[in-house]
Symmetry: C3
């Protein structure tokens, strides 16, 4: 069994942004030499997400508005976590978007559907944060 580990680092200059990381995960897969197996990508931070969806700007604007409706950032005082912190909403937003994606590796490639793209979802940016990519297989 082969095993490969890669960290992807981010420092997003705003509080929130969605970043397409499909190319970086594919590059890790090429380096891994794995041709059949599973590839896990997860945020290593609890106010960020890895998820799969469409790379379309209108949809990303819809996600921003929708997440603000379901888990609004302000007023900060509405959250008990926000004593010394101000990112409770980021924990909730990431819960909706999910922590991780598991993708299949087939014939040396990420086995994604035609519109599936892997994203890093930052909900509390302006600091260095990481995604972990782990690939196991043969």
């Amino acid at each position: 069994m082969k095993s490969f580990r890669r960290e992807l680092w981010f420092e997003i200059p705003q509080r929130r942004r969605l970043v397409n990381i499909t190319g970086q995960v594919e590059e890790a897969l090429r380096e891994s030499g794995v041709s059949e197996g599973l590839c896990l990508a997860n945020a290593m931070h609890i106010s960020a997400s890895v998820f799969v969806n469409d790379d379309e700007g209108g949809l990303h604007a819809d996600f921003e508005r929708w997440l603000e409706k379901l888990a609004p950032e302000k007023p900060h005082s509405q959250y008990q976590h926000n004593r010394g912190e101000d990112n409770a909403d980021a924990h909730l937003k990431r819960t909706i978007m999910g922590r991780e994606a598991v993708a299949t590796v087939t014939a040396g490639k990420l086995d994604l559907g035609p519109w599936e793209q892997i994203f890093y979802g930052e909900f509390d940016g302006m600091r260095r944060k990481r995604v972990l990519v782990k690939i196991i297989g043969e």
Copy 2:
């Protein structure tokens, strides 16, 4: 290490429906010959879901009403994604329900709890769409 791949195809005649696919995943597992490992089932489309829950009609009606409350289909004009598209709500609904389920394989069987059933959740039907099942192990 063994590796097995199967696509399940659907063409749901309505916009939304939940389909129990546990039997089809179990059949793939039997064909795989894997007795210990992991089984990933994921929607290959970003407006559909694979998730685990109860096969109970009242609950499914509750899911429908609840998802329409959290991410309503109409009016289409409320979403920026809906220029030429009308399925932004399906992307949001699938985000809540999740893209994928990872199940354990133990002694050649899906190692599910007593009420756990695997579902395909269609949120933008009336077209051919797929679920990917990948099983790895020994």
Copy 3:
């Protein structure tokens, strides 16, 4: 390939509670002898969750209030599932929080970010329920 299976049992004396199970998952990992691979932890019940977030009491209070806003328990009569049952809201809450977490195993340890902790989320307690931990690798 090594494979290790462990059930964690719970009987929570209230309807809802979040329990940090990181230590129990780490203990299973030590017993498994796996040094490189994947670790899946999933609720075996469809009204409970396994998820990753922060072990901070204010945030847990925020989760409770937020889940009650998005999927309120009462009135029970608002849900079609609640005929003979009263736990439809628990199915919805668990859907938001997620069924499972997949963690990476690196050098014999759970490869978690600095604040990542694994939780069992009970949303319909006062009965015996289980989490399944499965570890595969080498």
